[in-house]
Every structure is written in C-alpha cells, then in structure tokens.
C-alpha cells in the first residue's frame, strides 16, 4: 500500500538500542528503615538491542518473567524506558515530548493484547470500541464516514457490520480478538505489537487468528512485533526470532536457522521442551531447575546455573551478543569458544 515508502527500505522501521526498564519493587520506605532492608530493583529488561525491518515479523520468545511483555509495553509507550532508546523511522521517541508531537507517530503503531476478555471495555458497543482510535486522533469527524470505516474494518477481520451494535460479552474469545485487531487497524498503523495474541484462545481459534494476522500483513504491508511463549506459533508466524532470558536477548536469528540450528543452550533447551506431537518417541532431557528470581539474577551469564556447558568464565563474565558462524547473534561464551557440540536439528526426526 505504501509504495512511496519503499525507498526508505534500507532503514529499519523500528530500532531498539540498549533498551532497559527497571522496576523498584522495594518494600515501603518505613519497612526499609526499620527492618534494614535494601532497595530492590527488578531488572525486567536489561539492555536489549534489535531492529525490525518494514513488513517483517520479529518474534520475542521466552518463559514468564523474561521481560518480553515489558519490551512490548516499552515500545508502545505504556512504560518509559529506564535506559536506551527506541527509534521509529529514525525518530527517537523520547524526543516527542508533547502530545501533539507524539500523536502522528503513536497513531502508526498499535497493540493487540493477550486477554480478549479484558482488552475490550465491557460497557462499550463494539462500533465505539473500534472507532476510538479514529475519534481520538480525529482521523475522521463525520459520523457516517466513521460508521462506514468501522463496517469496513469489521468485514476485514471476518465479522459482519451488524456486530458493531453489540457489546463484547456477546462474542466468543476468538471473535473478541478479531474486534481487538479491528480496533488496532482503525488508525491505519504500519506496525502492530502483538502481546501473546493467541495464548488465551483454543487451538482451532488460534489457527483462525494466526491466518487472519498473516492475511492482514500481506494485504496492508504490516510489520509485527510478536510476543509469545509458544515456539510452534512463533515458528509459524515469524521471519526472525529473538530468544529472551531474564531481561536480555540470548539469541537472535532467522526463524529457519533458529529452529534448525539453535545455538544458545537455552534455545536448545526450549526447543527440546516442546511436546513431541509427532510421537517419534525421542528421549527428552528436561533441563533441571527453574528461572531464577530476576531481582537477584546470577552473576555472569544468567543462564549458567542451569547450563550443562557452563564453566568458570560463564559465572564471572556476562556474554555479549556476537555473530555465530551460522549468522545468528548469540550471547554465549561456549558458542564463541566453539566448545558446544554442533546443534542438532530439533525436533529430531522431522527435518526442516
């Protein structure tokens, strides 16, 4: 749809540089003084770099507490970054101080939330919910024109225009997620941040929503940042994938490469943990241990207490993201020192 913009193809649509967000989770001041407790800082996101090219889907995966949802909220402006910057088409979002400056850019990225039962105001009619971005940004003022646009959006996401008169509770989870998508599309954004958009849905409905998102991406030239814990979904929808662990990216690679030759030990572990639907009877070695408390992450590489290849250097020095031989960016000393066994194609028995 935007041929004119293709000239800026080389420039990424969105760049996050050293993005970090800390939360102060200290007990109240009085308790700290009386009980002598220190301040506690939760490093939800601690220095993340990535770029998203126009028209692609970048996914962030990881287990709960890895900071992937915080990244999503930082990008759409629900949180302010503690450190680092977000550039949208070369414009640093932090420089947009006033509402009037921010609105034209903010309009161009929207968000789809996880819980279709909580993300729509239960007291509003669907047509008003979908029209809210249009009214807020005054993209149209004529009532009939707005109504017409809402009808078009409803059809676009597979609902019927008459659904606009209803309230959210009259719809199933999948239909509500369609309404969410229609709302996100109504301000004609280029970029959608999708925070676990299908994890609250049943599989058959999940397939509908994923297909819809792919269709819309193709028709409207959308760019997605897709947050998920479900690797199969990520494999299906992404062009590139970033794996997060305890607030940092540990691996960033093209999707085929990541699933065929996972580099970082954590990525390998995640892939190994996927239930084996093909029933190959492959032996699984579930990694012991759990994600540590992000308030006191382990020193050095945060994954070292669970990593079978960790050595003394891993406990001491935090690895930076460096290119691996296969082109992926990996934050792992063992990968850098080539002391990992070659990545086996996961899942075994199903060559990609």
């Amino acid at each position: 749809m935007n041929d004119a913009m293709m000239s800026t193809d080389e420039q990424p649509l969105l760049v996050a540089q050293d993005l970090a967000r800390y939360f102060d989770v200290s007990p109240p001041w009085l308790n700290r003084v009386i009980e002598g407790q220190p301040r506690q800082i939760l490093r939800a996101v601690d220095g993340v770099d990535f770029a998203i090219r126009r028209g692609e889907t970048l996914s962030l995966v990881g287990e709960s507490g890895c900071g992937k949802s915080t990244v999503a909220r930082l990008i759409v402006g629900l949180y302010q970054p503690t450190r680092g910057s977000i550039m949208f088409e070369g414009v640093d979002l932090a420089t947009l101080r006033t509402r009037a400056q921010a609105a034209p850019i903010r309009r161009r990225f929207q968000m789809i939330f996880q819980d279709p039962y909580a993300s729509l105001n239960p007291r509003w009619r669907v047509a008003d919910i979908i029209a809210e971005p249009i009214r807020t940004h005054r993209l149209m003022t004529d009532r009939a024109a707005i109504r017409c646009r809402v009808d078009e959006l409803l059809r676009q996401v597979g609902l019927s225009p008459s659904d606009g008169e209803k309230y959210p509770h009259e719809f199933s989870g999948g239909q509500r997620q369609r309404i969410s998508i229609a709302r996100a599309l109504s301000s004609k954004p280029d970029f959608l941040v999708c925070d676990e958009p299908t994890s609250a849905l049943d599989v058959s409905v999940q397939a509908q929503i994923l297909n819809l998102m792919k269709d819309l991406q193709r028709e409207l030239g959308l760019t997605y940042l897709f947050i998920s814990h479900n690797l199969a979904v990520v494999y299906h929808i992404s062009d590139r994938v970033g794996v997060m662990y305890l607030g940092r990216l540990v691996e960033l690679a093209d999707v085929e490469e990541l699933f065929a030759r996972p580099q970082h030990p954590y990525t390998r572990m995640l892939l190994d943990a996927i239930p084996d639907l093909e029933m190959t009877g492959r032996p699984r070695t579930p990694v012991a241990g759990e994600v540590p408390n992000p308030i006191n992450p382990p020193a050095g590489c945060a994954f070292h207490p669970r990593c079978p290849w960790a050595n003394e250097r891993c406990t001491r020095e935090r690895p930076e993201m460096k290119p691996a031989p296969n082109g992926a960016l990996v934050a792992c000393h063992a990968v850098e020192e080539r002391r990992l066994p070659p990545a086996r194609a996961v899942p075994p028995g199903s060559p990609i």
């Binding site: 287990e63 199933s172 049943d202 979904v233 299906h236 084996d276």
Partner: protein, 337 residues
C-alpha cells in the same frame, strides 16, 4: 506396556449427563459420555474450552459446583457405583482412592498451613500411621516428586515455592494415600514450557512406578501425545472420538479431530496458512440439532443435521460420526484431506 489383566475397568463412566439448571432453561454441559479407564492406564481427555472435559472430571470426583448436577448415567469405580454416594463417603474415597491435581496449584494448597502439615494431615486421614511415620512419608513423597531439600522444604508455606515446585507439591498431595486413580485437570497449563516438560515426565514416571491410573484433562494435544495411552476428544459435551493415542493423533477419524490436529502449528513444516475450522464451538444454550459439529464440518451431509451420531467402532477407535456408518466405508478416503 504390559498391564495386569483386570476383570473390570478401574473406572467406568456410562452415559454421563451433567446439567446446569438456569432460569433460561436447563443447559446440558455433558451429554451421554461413556468411557472407561483400566488400572494403571493414562486416559487423555482433550477438547476446547466449553467442551465439558473439566466438568466430566469434576463429576467423577463429586466436585461439581452447584447448580451443576449429574442428571443421568452412572459412574463406577472398581465396580462400585460412586455417583450417588453420600458426601461423607465420597470425601473419603476422594482422598484415598482418587486423587486430584488442578490447573492452578495455588488454589489446591491452603496458604495458611505449611505444606508438611497439609501432607501429613491428608496421610493421617487416610492411612493408619503415626504422626511421625506420616511426616516421614511426606518427606519421601516430596523427594519423590523432585523437590530438593525436602527435609527443610516440608516446613515451608506454599507461597515460598515457585509455580513449578508448587505443582509438584500438589502432585505429592494427590499421591499421599496411594490412590489408584488421579484426575489431573490441566496440570501443566499454568506452567512455562520447560517446567511443563518436567511435570509431564514426573507424572509419567510416578504413575508407572505406583501403577496409578490417570485421567488427564487438557486442551494441549502435545501433552496428550507425550503422556496418554488412550485419548478421548470431546466436543460440545460429547465424545467425538476415543481410541489409542497414536491412532487418534496420527490418523484422526472424526472431522473435528482432523481439523483440530491440522490447526496446531507444527515445527516440522512451515505452511503459508494453518488448516482452520471456521466458526466456534456452540454455546451450551445453542447446541445445534443432529451432530453438534455439523455447522463447522466440511463433510456434513443431510443425516448429520437431523440425527445425532453415537460412537461407532472404527479400527481400534470409537468415532461419533455418520461418515463411518456405512458398510463400504474406506477410512482412508475419509481421512485424506
């Protein structure tokens, strides 16, 4: 896997019907469900939300929330009817013979008591042991479910455990009195993938070691594939297909199961589009006549719209679908998408 031969199944459910009387009429949430579980067997019950799978589990252990009630059929445990037992007898049976693991480990544990107290109390209620023996048994159970430092951790409160560890405690609690059947309702849904794999492995190992049968209720086909011996696929309160797990997953027969399997994204191949089943599961107050799946079924024909199919024997499975009610049926022709 060799199983000891049994004269009768451990659990037998016949024509179970669960109803919710509301002011707008009676809703039938589970409608004529029949299945059995053999000793030591893992039966997976899979379906989307609202399919009635959790209610079936709740009905078996007598934990239906009012106004829900069993309105028909019978449930036999070890040959004995249990659906009409008085509350007190059912309660004793529930801890001793049938254990339960729920989705959210927080709701199964009392936050005010140490896990040790909860474990020993359950053991003392159901087994004839001294308090010291009960505590020893509790520690052994905690070690068994893989909690490091069990001697110390036994005196901790539930909130001091992480989600995965809490689910392990719940499993220990369910296994306290050596039950012969465990009903596990979405035991891994609230957990991260890596923890999920650990819990599945644990459940499998424990049931093999103790010879415990499991009814595993979940929406996740992956978990079923990893764990179950047989699987029942539920749709709109009825069983659409039930059979050995390999058959159901590799060669599904009911069009719903075929659609369900197709809509799961797989890691072995990237498709432009996932196979999808259009529409959504009907609400309980609007279940269509005939086969409940017919409005979404690509292969529905006239008979499906008026007559409700009952499970028919196909190969090693039972399938509730009219497509198979023909003498000349060639399964391959139907399954081929």
């Amino acid at each position: 896997m060799a199983r000891p031969p049994a004269n009768h199944p451990l659990l037998e459910v016949r024509d179970l019907r669960v109803e919710f009387p509301t002011r707008r009429g009676t809703l039938v949430a589970v409608d004529g469900v029949s299945f059995h579980i053999d000793p030591g067997e893992v039966l997976g019950v899979v379906g989307e939300s609202g399919a009635g799978k959790s209610l079936t589990g709740a009905a078996i252990i007598g934990l239906l929330e009012p106004p829900g009630r069993i309105a028909g059929g019978e449930i036999r445990f070890d040959g004995r009817r249990i659906d009409n037992l008085p509350y007190e007898q059912m309660r004793r049976l529930r801890g001793k013979e049938i254990g339960a693991v729920f989705q959210d480990p927080l709701t199964s544990l009392n936050p005010l008591y140490t896990i040790g107290r909860q474990l020993t109390e359950t053991i003392l209620t159901h087994l004839d042991v001294t308090p010291a023996e009960a505590r020893e048994r509790a520690i052994r159970l905690l070690q068994d479910v893989g909690i490091p430092g069990a001697e110390r951790r036994i005196d901790h409160y539930p909130h001091q455990f992480s989600g995965g560890m809490r689910q392990r405690v719940v499993i220990a609690l369910a296994l306290c009195a050596n039950p012969r059947l465990v009903i596990a309702d979405e035991p891994t849904t609230a957990l991260d993938v890596s923890i999920q794999a650990q819990i599945i492995t644990l459940l499998k190992r424990l049931c093999r070691e103790h010879g415990t049968a499991v009814m595993l209720v979940t929406h996740d086909m992956g978990v079923i594939a990893e764990t179950a011996d047989r699987v029942a696929v539920m749709y709109a309160g009825r069983i659409a297909e039930i059979g050995p797990v390999r058959d159901v997953i590799k060669t599904p027969k009911h069009p719903y199961t075929i659609g369900l399997m197709g809509s799961i994204p797989k890691i072995d191949r990237r498709e432009a589009r996932l196979a999808q089943i259009d529409g959504a599961m009907p609400r309980l107050n609007a279940i269509p006549p005939g086969c409940a799946f017919h409005p979404r079924c690509p292969k529905a024909f006239d008979r499906c719209r008026v007559e409700r199919p009952d499970p028919i024997h196909v190969d090693r499975s039972h399938v509730a679908c009219w497509l198979y009610d023909r003498d000349d049926v060639r399964v391959g022709a139907v399954v081929d998408e």
